[in-house]
Symmetry: C2
Subunit: 307 residues, 2 copies
Amino acid sequence: LAGYGRVGLALHRLILSQRARIPLRVVGIQTLRHGSAFDQRGLPLDPEFGPLVAPIGEFLDRARPEVLVEATTLQPATGEPALEHLLAAFERGRHVVTANLGPVAHAYAVVAHTAQRSGVQFRIGLPLFQAARLPLPGAKVAGFRAVLSPASSLMLDALRAGRTLADGMEAARTLGLAEGDASYYADGWDAALQAAALANVLFDARITPLQVNRRGIAQLTPEKLDDLRTRHKTVALVARGRLTTAGVSLRVRAEVLDVHDPLASTRGASSVLLLDTDLAGTVGSVVDSAAEQTAYALFRELVDIAG
Amino acid sequence: LAGYGRVGLALHRLILSQRARIPLRVVGIQTLRHGSAFDQRGLPLDPEFGPLVAPIGEFLDRARPEVLVEATTLQPATGEPALEHLLAAFERGRHVVTANLGPVAHAYAVVAHTAQRSGVQFRIGLPLFQAARLPLPGAKVAGFRAVLSPASSLMLDALRAGRTLADGMEAARTLGLAEGDASYYADGWDAALQAAALANVLFDARITPLQVNRRGIAQLTPEKLDDLRTRHKTVALVARGRLTTAGVSLRVRAEVLDVHDPLASTRGASSVLLLDTDLAGTVGSVVDSAAEQTAYALFRELVDIAG
């Protein structure tokens, strides 16, 4: 388990609570802040950490896990150190389940190819990406529309309530849905990173967040939202991806929506994904993306790999 | 293929269009109106029908399919003749995929048990029921909230537009989403049937539509909806099911919702299902339920059985 923040901790708690029926155990935990812990019989929730065992390859050689769970803090600009973690695991023949989207947004094609060549599995343990992986035999996904950034949605909620973007950021921080600089969310970078990751997975787009046509929500005010409200309209930060003959088009925009639009129904920690398909029509998912649900998404992938 | 209305025809078209990659074929079609048609090499879209071969057992003995697709017209009060069709197929060791919810709403426990005892598969080929079947290892579904009846939703759309329930019914008929008497939809029977089916599948509730605590939308008027709209509220016909220590509670009501509620986002032929789970939070699905998407849901199950 690389990373032991809210998600890592929630996953460990879940594993321990389910172990009577599903015998998974955490044999190593690596965290920059506390150091490293190891126990082949399974670590407790609050283990004694020794000094940090780095680089990650050394940690893996000592922990000898079947699967590396990557749940470190996202470094949006590069996808590191998660990318290095993944490649080190693949090199050692370990499966990987990631809650960190960095490597998916920045280098999905390389990661997926390396995992395949190494004969191991690479899974994304995030509720929205599980929803995107519906088995649709014979059908093609032509595009997606999605509200991907809970922190940005909470900022819009704050504006709608007559408060500020900073208030929304504070709420997101409290829920563990945001960290670092508010502009990362207000300027649409969070949504762009997730949109790039989705396009890479759905369309093999080989795109990075920097290539997403992106605008944020910083120009919005409570007054503008109030005016829209009287016209039964609302605003959401919408990511749209589409596979065209010219390639993948991808953009993030604060869009004015009818209040009854499925994309207008996100609140708090939920995300919405609408897949436009040829045979199944529009297939939509609404998922909760707080730490507990992300932990469960990781857990599902672990169970599936163990399967 | 029992039943050759919009769904049956759309499924046959889909099978033919995909046969280069997925070698399914329709070896028999049974329809009350046109009679029966057989060809072991696969029937064309517009076959020559001979006299009706009945009862269904005789049809199955002559068609010798691996799977019976049940897509006859629903008889809401009893689930027949679909129920008889299913049991006849199981008796002959045939798998069944159904688009007809009658047997699921009226006798799911018996049907599932009989299929299992016969060593065959029983699948529900409807988009909403596929969404309800998310693999959630270790997790429990505690309840559901859903908007299940597209025809009722279209009636509410009509009222919102200042027209009548009858206008909405007409729109639903045109889209192939309703037939027979408008009161079946306006009084909430359609939603109750689907709610009972969902509760039977999710909770083994052994409930029938008659036992659903049900009220419809007949008392609503354009004026009432307009008044709600000025208060940023809306109405949907919502089914709620919950597993309690005292058993399964199930009700269908026209509920006043905040316009941003995910249940308020249905329009036209779409349905919404929110599953409340212990570990995965709320997992929601928005699906299109017109004939083409139902045909594709049947197709997915056929591909899965062929596996």
